[in-house]
Amino acid sequence: MTGPLHIERRLDTPKWLKVAVPFASILLAAIIVAILLAATGHNPFSTYHQMYSASVTADGALTSTFVYATPMLFTGLCAAFAFRMRTWNIGGEGQLYMGAVGASAVGLVLGDWPRPLLIIAMVIGGALAGMLWACIPALLRAYLRTNEILTSLMLNYVAGFFMYYLIYDSSSYWRDLTTPGASVFPTGKTLVANASWPGITIGTFTLPMGFILGVGLAVGLLVLIRSTRYGFEMRVMGDSPQAANYSGIRTKRKILSVMAISGGVAGIAGSSQIGDFGHVLDPRGLQQAQYGYTGIVVAALALYNPLAVVLVSLLIGGLTSAGFALEGPSFPTGLVGTMEGIILFTVLGGEILARYRIGLRHRAVTPASAGANFGTEVAP
């Protein structure tokens, strides 16, 4: 009755294994996808080479990778930070929208400010808008004990509709009503040139300012979690809310502030979308990109570690960018999604399996006795 494998729980996973498993998992995912490619009549090696070129080496490919990675970095941090305390903020998507709304408002209103001040104001404007939006599910969770997964998720749709309303169904401040074309195809007002964020350009490659800001935030959040009283309280809360209450931690305020920070980070994703890339509030584009939801995947792959979020956002950003660049008959749209799914599966699976010791069972022939099946190695 016993299978060929035996599985035993590890008492503690050695450190090298914790680091090695995610990389091995990604490698395994690559092998699985290669088999999939070969089975559908593609040459896996040339496909991988194409993808590498389309996300790194080709003209503008690396820039494009960073364009996709930047919002995912923020939304990944948003999810990773909240999830650390087992506060399940699924609302990064809506907080990003609201951040974009806030940042574009700031950019439009304060268009005549000096550039550095205007950019800082946009970052803050987006962060504040995201924070406020995240405070709705946070307040409901802290004071009425509603489930923040549901409320934050549903508020994503509300934020989406709100954005649509601003541009398509109203004469709001954000909507461009001046040009004749704009009344047929509604668009948002384009921000002044001063409001576009500077990037660092080396040759053909441009590193967006948002990405640098994101890396700084990742480091900051890591320090906050690892070595401050605030982070200590988060760890206690995440492990045992009762123990947190018992030890005098203000648990309701904690939920509020963690959700607010998480939402603020997602809000900056919205600022960066406006300042770094779009320069206009584009509801359709933001909704199609779904960076908020991808951020949850990024956080999960990074095992909620802010620094790992930086690397993972680049990986997923590169995949997405290559997917768009290569899209066509020989490279179907679904392939990138499939790859992301398989990577997620292997990394999370690997993370769980790393907690066990797994090996082949040695079966030795035992003299049959009264129906007892020992199924085990018998010492001489």
Binding site: T2, H6, R229, R235, A243, Y246, A372
Partner: protein
Amino acid sequence: MTDSALDAGGDQAAQVAGPHQASGSSASAPGAMPGALAVQAVDMTKRFPGVVANDHVSFEAAEGEVHALLGENGAGKTTLCNLLMGLYRPDEGKLSISGRAVRFHSPKDAQDAGIFMVHQHLRLVDSMTVAENVVLGWSKPRRLRFSPRKVEKAVAEAAERFQMPVDPKARIWQLSLGERQRVEILKALYRGAKILILDEPTTVLTPQEAEQLFSSVRDMAADGRTVIFISHKLPEVLAVADRVTILRQGRSITTVPTAGTDAEHLAGLMVGREVSLEATAKGSEEPGPVVLELAGVSARGDLGTEALKTVTFDVRAGEILGIAGVAGNGQRELAEVITGLRGTTAGEIRIGGTRLPMGDPRAAIDLGIAYVPEDRMGTGISPNLSIAENLMLKSYRGKTMRSGPVLSNRKANANAREMIKRFDVRAPGPRTLVRQLSGGNIQKVLLARELSSEPRVVVAASPTRGLDVGATQYVRQVLVETAQHGVAVLMVSEDLDEIFELSDRIAVFYNGKVVGIVPAAGANRQQIGLMMAGAA
């Protein structure tokens, strides 16, 4: 009162042992073991990072024997069971079952060899029926179709055959803890258990249920099965077992037949020194000024009903006030109200004259109230954090654990090392997760944190529940010393012996009210008992 006879760590133990032993283990005299060897463990060794959990442990049990494994928390009983059950693999040593050497790779292997374990925390699916639980995951013989009626019939037959009366159609959540345990045992027997390991089986049982269990255990042994009975309670070991193997600090000290021994002797072997099961010395003679004052305090319970009704009493510095009462009469709510975890609906609590704000745990901590909660793992400890982190659970806000704005690992570890030494916590080091410690050591970590904060009031709820003789003695000693240093101690306990042993005054709770406060010296047990039952 629960467990009055069985849980007694006190002098009662010796008295209880006599009669039980006569009726319980008369079947087997030492040296006349019935049947062949069922389990033989030789030099079993299991090392964990930093500790040797089992150090050359040896014991053997015959067919038809009830063999007790006795030891303090952390003595290696659980590790030994996990070795027997194939959950761990031994680093050294040999295990033979029915004279045949085996090496288990998983619990499945152990079960195939006829070894089953009933865990302390039962592993049943609440929403399923008894019959479904009994056959759950048991794929022998493998059948595609699952017929509830057939299974129920088979389980009913088994229940009758093994004299384990349970209704196979009942759902687990409808059953009492004693009945649930019976289902676990039935499950093992149904699956052909030859060797049954019971891990601290009486922890969750009432005294009557425990008696029933003991008689089932004797029946199973009479049937030729081997029962390995793990416990740290001396009276029940003496009552049910034929022989006892004593474990201490990971080593098997000796195996003795229960017939020729008594509780004092076993306690001595278990702790490794002479143990007097006499009372600990009381608190200081002259209590100081009033420190904790409750005036007409009322509060609601979890279900919204009134759990505390205009409770008024005070506790003086250097005094231990024992709260006696049957569980569920407002004691938990009382402790929570004083420690700020629960809001009040009326009345006032004062600490040294200062009014305690309602429902604010941090204010209570800042006013010098330490709390040893009943629910250690759930409330008092963050199980997945380290010892060092748990020790700073209340002091992290102060300056002692920081360098600048950043929490200092070095300071936390230094503090932890000092506490581990001072409170005799047995652990590999400050970074060990509290979850991995034994019950007694967890309680020591908790006490270390609470008592080292220089409190003015200590609220201790069932501080020795589930602890072994050594740890119990230690905890009681620490509480008495704390009172002697001028701290007001409020101790809630369901164990009347403990109340009598430690308290200066006893307040009896019934139905959310204080029915009476009497000095412990010269208090009448009968009288207290009647008050607890609401009859006086």
